[in-house]
Symmetry: C2
Subunit: 215 residues, 2 copies
DNA sequence: TCATTTCCTGACCGTATGGTCAAGGTGAAG
DNA sequence: CTTCACCTTGACCATACGGTCAGGAAATGA
């Protein structure tokens, strides 16, 4: 098996570019369609149209609708995990949780579709990503609870239940993506402006940090 | 047309009971199926099976899938509006917002399916209940903002942005229904116990009320 | 008993969907 | 140029879906 090492070591040529570009376009279209119609309501034809490809071409890159969906869901999960690094190298809750709120609010603005797909997946009982919940998410959660508990022990914040604090952080930040349409309607039908997003982030941070006694 | 007044004044007999009971069973089954599969993923056959009726019978009581869905969505909205009365006859934020959180958390526990259907509907752009958002919900929101602003003016709480406070209340309380599966997974696969629900309610109330400077 | 209204349901239909396939196109390597 | 791996796609298929309908059952009132 000495040849294995070079299997995917073709120098990046047009072929590779085509594949990468098409997969990217399909995933982007799929994320939007799955978010707007749900898994059951989404059709491969619609995704194909939005990606500008014939439907049969989708099945060349992604064997089934489920495969495509799985890739979309995994993506937002990884983005969120990256954002979670804000939490780690922080001396206290003001910096750590503040940065985490900032990061999650930014993602809610830049990746609203992914957030909705994740929400939909969990609401339907997580048929596809149950293993993520039980392994990666659970481990991440326990780790963060430890950090929060340490801050409590160091009297950098009030002794709140860390678990419910995390739920509040997830709920509040993701609400701006998942319920973006409702928020937009209550904003006179217009999307939040840059200024309004800053106001939202500041409000959330202020209420949460005061709520846990960190400020 | 003098007879019109008595059209629906038949004394409650078996006929009426049959209709009422079947509609109830169908709506209950539909709420569960729509919540677990989304509108697109739900099938009339599945709803019929769960209600214990032949599919054709569903179409006798509800003309189309959309009609049935509309009824399910309206129901949770009315339940939430009822709960909102907690807000009104309260002297200050501790009582008003405290009772509102209690009420919404109770609904998240007793009507998780309805909450999910609402969330799904809004995430998909509110194709069916857009008018509710623009009329009833907007009016309700403005009213509550006025109440909160009065409390701020009376220095019963910190001057937070009332709108984002409402979003936080909605997000946090509904999270326990919409993401109930995720919470259950992080709870070792077991649903929250009575004690854990009390803990959740207490945590949310404590963090929110301290967050707005009401305690 | 008879007439009338309401309720029930198996069988059926047109359509749309996920997925398949065979035939052909295309660019890079030798 | 030839070869070969990769890419493209129109046409097609089986299935499942929402919805219809005709005919019968059951309850009600006279």
């Amino acid at each position: 098996m000495t040849g294995d090492a070079q299997i995917s070591r073709l120098k990046p040529g047009r072929r590779t570019d085509i594949r990468r570009e098409n997969e990217r376009a399909i995933l982007e279209a799929a994320e939007k369609v799955f978010a707007e119609a749900g898994f059951g309501g989404a059709t491969m034809q619609l995704i194909a149209d939005m990606a500008g490809l014939p439907k049969a071409n989708l099945h060349y890159y992604f064997a089934t609708k489920e495969d495509l969906y799985r890739r979309v869901v995994s993506r937002i999960f990884e983005i969120w995990l990256d954002a979670a690094s804000s939490f780690d190298d922080a001396p206290g809750p003001v910096e750590g949780i503040g940065a985490y709120i900032d990061a999650k609010m930014d993602i809610s603005r830049t990746h609203p579709h992914g957030s909705k797909v994740w929400a939909s997946e969990v609401m339907h009982g997580a048929p596809v990503i149950q293993d993520y919940l039980e392994t990666t998410l659970r481990a991440w959660t326990e780790g963060r609870i430890t950090v929060i508990q340490r801050w409590i022990d160091e009297e950098k914040m009030q002794p709140v239940n860390p678990r419910h604090l995390l739920y509040m952080l997830w709920a509040t930040t993701q609400h701006y993506a998942d319920f973006g349409h409702q928020i937009q309607t209550l904003n006179g039908g217009k999307p939040l402006s840059d200024k309004q997003w800053r106001e939202a982030k500041a409000s959330v941070k202020e209420m949460v940090l005061r709520g846990i006694g960190a400020i």
